[in-house]
Symmetry: C2
Subunit: 151 residues, 2 copies
């Protein structure tokens, strides 16, 4: 709890140099992975509907889209802590902090595209939804290609 | 990705018997832990402000409160998969699925109290915010006492 508190305080102090220890760095990685876990958990069934592998359920799709959009709003805070100097189980590449401005630009694009998907999903029109989903997918991919380890 | 897809499909099929394998059960645990990680990440600095260990920043508090509230909306879906038969790194007690109705009742209470906190946090009034935060804390605790392993 105390470590958590110290880290969260560090994360709040945006723009300042953050001195983390190993445990705090692991916590920071856990947090950013949780944010992306929420995204992935919801992208998968949404993709299933778009690819017509599972039936399109407009109401469920909207829930997934809102969760994806919400998770994207957390990316900047979740990646604020620079953990480059630590050995961690992570797919986050050092580039995230080496070129943080570009990372934030791509994250903002993913946020915008996912917000659009959440809005469009209210229409219940699978054609529009598919188009917005594919746009979002490209934004996700652009960031992953540059800042996530290949796997 | 395929495993992910199958699991998400299983998670969508609420109310049906879900046959999971070990990998899917681990994924299900990862997802619910991610949901609660998001909550905890935001509860800690919010608690710091309420306890006046860090300065009260009304705008940041509101962000934290909204994230906590959003995470609480995901609890029922995140705990839909019954993983009792698997050996997992988890603090989730079997009671979650043995008395799922009671679990959902307590989760709904935490959701409601966190939504209230998010609303009240817009006032920027630390006294009101503190009261709503403590109410929410009791709802969290009620669920943890019954359904989370002591640690």
């Amino acid at each position: 709890m105390l470590k958590n508190f110290v880290l969260s305080f560090a994360l709040l102090a945006a723009g300042t140099v953050q001195a983390l220890d190993q445990e705090q760095a692991e916590k920071a990685a856990e947090i950013r992975q949780a944010v992306l876990e929420i995204a992935g958990w919801n992208v998968v069934p949404a993709a299933g509907m778009v690819k017509q592998k599972i039936p399109y359920d407009a109401e469920r799709f909207q829930v997934h889209a809102e969760r994806i959009a919400f998770s994207m709003t957390m990316i900047p805070d979740a990646f604020a802590a620079d953990t480059r100097e630590f050995v961690l189980h992570t797919e986050a590449l050092d580039g995230i902090w080496e070129d943080h401005e570009e990372f934030l630009r791509l994250a903002a694009d993913a946020k915008e595209k996912s917000a659009t998907l959440a809005t469009v999903s209210k229409s219940g029109d699978l054609e529009q939804v598919t188009s917005a989903f594919l746009d979002m997918g490209q934004a996700c991919k652009a960031c992953h290609d540059k800042f996530r380890e290949d796997n």
